[in-house]
C-alpha cells in the first residue's frame, strides 16, 4: 500500500514540476507553426482576427481600442493580451502576433534577432505616458529628484532609509525603504532603468519584483515603507505621487497628462506599437484608426497623453 501510493506520487510530482516548462515551450512552438509571418488570420466567414499582445502599461488602452473598433469594423476582431513589453516583442519575433505593444523602444539586440529571422519591425508611436513614482499615502515626502530615485533604486546607491531623505514615515517603524520594482522583462522596468539609473546603471538587488503595474500600486498602497513606479493610468486614491525634478535646481513637476504632453515631466515616455513590416490591409486600417481623433481620445480617456495635443475630445 505504502509503496503503491508513493510511486504514484513520484510520477505525479515530476509532472507537476515540469508542467510549466513543457506548457510554455510546447504552446509556443505550436503557434509558431501556425502563423510564421504573423499575418492576420482570415477564417471562412472572412472575419479578420488581429493578434495584439504586450505591454502591461498599454493593455487597458489596447482593450478599449479593440472594444470600440468592433463597432467601427464589425468584420475585424482584435484579440488583446498583456504580459509585459518583452512578451509582446518576443511574440512578434516568434511570429505569433500582428501588433506588439511596448512601453519601451526595441533594443538593438532584439532588432538584430528580428532581422536574422527575416522580420523588419516598424515602430508606431501611439501616445505618451508619465511614469509616476508611487508612495504610501501616509508618506510625507512631496517631491523627489531623479538623483534620489537613482540612489534608492540603483546599484551602489546610498539611500536605504527614509530618514536619509529627512522624513519619518508613519507606520514604518523600521525606517527601511522597501523598493517595489517590476519583473525584468517589463518595458516599464527597462525604461526606468535607462532613464533614472542611466545607460550603465543596474538595479540594486533585493527589490520586490511584481508581475504587473496593478500589483505594484496595490502593494504600495498596503505597505507604508514602500516606494514603487508604474504608468500614470494606474494611479488611484490609495497612493500618493510625489512631483519629480531633474536636478536640484529644476522645478518640480507633478505627473499628469498635460505635463506628459508638453514633455515637462522628466520621466515621460512614448508608447509604441510594433508591426512586422509595413502594415497593410485590415492591420493598416486599424493603426490609422488608432492615430485618428477617435482613437487618440480613447488613450486620453485612459489617462495617457495622445500623440497630437490638439485632439478635441468631447
Amino acid at each position: 500500500m505504502t509503496m503503491k501510493r508513493s510511486s504514484h506520487l513520484f510520477h505525479l510530482h515530476l509532472g507537476l514540476v515540469f508542467a510549466i516548462l513543457l506548457g510554455s515551450g510546447c504552446a509556443r512552438s505550436d503557434r509558431d507553426a501556425g502563423g510564421k509571418d504573423g499575418a492576420a488570420v482570415a477564417s471562412k466567414s472572412s472575419r479578420v482576427v488581429l493578434q495584439n499582445k504586450g505591454s502591461d502599461t498599454l493593455v487597458n488602452v489596447a482593450q478599449a481600442w479593440a472594444d470600440a473598433y468592433r463597432d467601427v469594423k464589425p468584420g475585424v476582431a482584435v484579440a488583446v493580451t498583456g504580459g509585459g513589453s518583452g512578451t509582446g516583442i518576443s511574440a512578434l519575433l516568434n511570429g505569433t502576433v500582428d501588433i506588439a505593444n511596448s512601453s519601451r523602444a526595441m533594443k538593438e539586440r532584439e532588432m538584430e534577432m528580428a532581422r536574422s529571422k527575416g522580420i523588419e519591425p516598424i515602430e508606431h508611436v501611439a501616445g505618451f505616458d508619465a511614469l509616476a513614482v508611487y508612495l504610501h499615502p501616509g508618506n510625507p515626502l512631496a517631491e523627489m529628484s531623479i538623483e534620489q530615485l537613482k540612489a534608492i533604486y540603483g546599484e551602489g546607491g546610498s539611500l536605504e532609509r527614509w530618514s536619509q531623505l529627512g522624513v519619518e514615515v508613519p507606520g514604518c517603524s523600521s525606517d527601511e525603504i522597501v523598493r517595489i520594482s517590476r519583473q525584468n522583462n517589463s518595458g516599464t522596468y527597462a525604461y526606468f532603468k535607462k532613464t533614472v539609473l542611466g545607460k550603465q546603471g543596474e538595479y540594486k538587488l533585493g527589490s520586490r519584483d511584481m508581475h504587473g503595474s496593478k500589483d505594484v500600486v496595490e502593494l504600495v498602497a498596503a505597505t507604508p515603507c514602500a516606494i514603487g513606479y508604474s504608468g500614470l493610468a494606474y494611479a488611484n486614491d490609495h497612493i500618493k505621487m510625489p512631483c519629480i525634478k531633474n536636478g536640484t535646481e529644476a522645478a518640480c513637476v507633478a505627473p499628469s497628462v498635460e505635463t506628459a504632453i508638453d514633455r515637462s515631466y522628466p520621466i515621460a515616455r512614448p508608447l509604441f506599437l510594433y508591426t512586422s513590416g509595413q502594415p497593410t490591409g485590415a492591420l493598416k486600417e486599424y493603426l490609422d484608426w488608432i492615430l485618428s481623433d477617435v482613437g487618440q481620445c480613447l488613450i486620453l480617456k485612459k489617462g495617457y497623453a495622445p500623440v497630437k495635443p490638439a485632439a478635441d475630445c468631447a
Binding site: 510520477h11 510530482h13 514540476v17 516548462l21 515551450g25 516568434n94 519584483d209
Partner: protein, 305 residues
C-alpha cells in the same frame, strides 16, 4: 484437427478481444510514465544545454553569485545562488512547520482515533490536499501579509516566513496521508504483543509503531520536501519575489520555480535568457529526482523490514 479449430474459434470471442485490448492499454499506460519522464528530460536538456556549453555560462558564477540579471544590456549575469538559497530557505521553513503537524496528525489518525472520527479526519486531510496552490498563494498575499506586518512590525509581509508557512500547510496533508499509510503498514501483531506485555497506548505508539514505520515516515518527509521544492504559484505570490540572500525569516526571497514561471513566457525562444531558465529547470529536475529517488529507497527498505 477439427477439434482444435473449433477450440481456436471458440476462444476469439468478444471477451477475448476485450481482454487483449485491456492488456495492451494497461501496458501502454504503465510504459507511458517511463516514456514521458525520458521525453521531459530530453526536452529540457535540449533547450538548456546550449547555455551550459556556451560562453555565457560560468559554473562559479552560476552557483556562487546572487546576481541574476539576464536582461541587462551591458553585462548580463546569470548567478543562481540567491534563487537556490531562496528555494532552500522556504522549503526548510516549510518542513519545520509541516513535519510536526503531519506526523502528529498521522499518529493521531492511525493510533488513537477510532470509528467515524478516523474516517472523517482522513477525508478532511485528503480534501485539504486538493486546495489549488493559487488559492494558497492568495491566502499568503491577502491574509498572511497584513497579519505578519501587524504581528512582527516588519515593513513587508511577503517573505520567507509567509511562504514557508503557506508551503508547510500545503505539504502537510500529503505527508500526513503517506505517514499514516506507513503506520498502518506496521502489523497489528506488533501492537498486540506490546499491549499484552502491559504497554500503554502511548508506549505502543512511540516505542513500537513509530520505530517500526520509520523508513516510511522518512519517505513521507522527503516527498514533502520534493513537493516544497517544486511548488511554484504559492511561493511566487507569497515570497516577495526579490533576489536576496536572506538573513532572517522576514527577508523576501525568490524561488527557482517562481523565476522560471515569471520569466519564461517573456523570453525569445533560443535566447541566452531562455536557455538559462531551462538550466534552472535542469537543476530543479535533478534535485527533485534525487529527493524522490531517496524516498523510494526508504520505502523499499521499510517494505523489506
Amino acid at each position: 484437427m477439427e477439434v482444435s479449430k473449433v477450440k481456436l474459434a471458440d476462444r476469439r470471442t468478444a471477451n477475448w478481444w476485450i481482454d487483449k485490448a485491456v492488456a495492451v492499454l494497461v501496458f501502454v499506460g504503465g510504459f507511458s510514465a517511463v516514456v514521458l519522464i525520458l521525453g521531459i528530460f530530453l526536452f529540457i536538456t535540449r533547450e538548456g544545454v546550449g547555455f551550459l556549453v556556451g560562453d555565457e555560462f560560468d559554473l562559479v558564477e552560476f552557483f556562487g553569485s546572487p546576481k541574476w540579471r539576464p536582461t541587462s544590456d551591458n553585462n548580463p549575469t546569470y548567478g543562481a545562488l540567491a534563487l537556490i538559497v531562496g528555494t532552500a530557505s522556504v522549503t526548510g521553513l516549510a518542513m519545520l512547520v509541516a513535519v510536526p503537524f503531519s506526523l502528529g496528525a498521522a499518529i493521531y489518525i492511525s493510533e488513537f482515533a477510532t470509528g467515524r472520527t478516523k474516517e472523517l479526519l482522513k477525508v478532511l486531510v485528503e480534501l485539504l490536499a486538493a486546495i489549488p496552490s493559487v488559492v494558497w498563494g492568495f491566502i499568503g498575499l491577502s491574509i498572511m501579509n497584513p497579519l505578519i506586518i501587524e504581528l512582527f512590525d516588519v515593513p513587508i509581509g511577503l517573505n520567507v516566513l509567509n511562504s514557508g508557512v503557506i508551503l508547510g500547510l500545503m505539504a502537510a496533508p500529503i505527508m500526513t496521508t503517506l505517514a499514516e499509510d506507513a503506520l498502518k503498514a506496521v502489523p497489528d501483531s506488533y501492537r498486540e504483543a506490546a499491549e499484552a506485555m502491559g504497554a500503554t497506548r502511548w508506549q505502543v505508539s512511540f516505542r513500537v509503531a513509530l520505530p517500526a514505520a520509520r523508513h516510511g515516515l522518512v519517505a513521507a518527509i522527503l516527498l514533502g520536501v520534493g513537493r516544497g521544492f517544486g511548488e511554484t504559484m504559492a511561493v511566487l505570490m507569497a515570497s516577495g519575489h526579490s533576489i536576496n540572500l536572506p538573513s532572517s525569516p522576514f527577508d523576501s526571497v525568490r524561488a527557482l520555480t517562481a523565476t522560471i514561471a515569471a520569466e519564461l513566457g517573456e523570453t525569445a525562444v533560443g535566447s541566452d535568457h531562455y536557455q538559462a531558465l531551462f538550466t534552472l529547470g535542469i537543476l530543479l529536475f535533478v534535485v527533485t529526482f534525487a529527493i524522490n529517488l531517496a524516498a523510494d529507497v526508504f520505502v523499499r527498505r521499510s517494505d523489506r523490514a
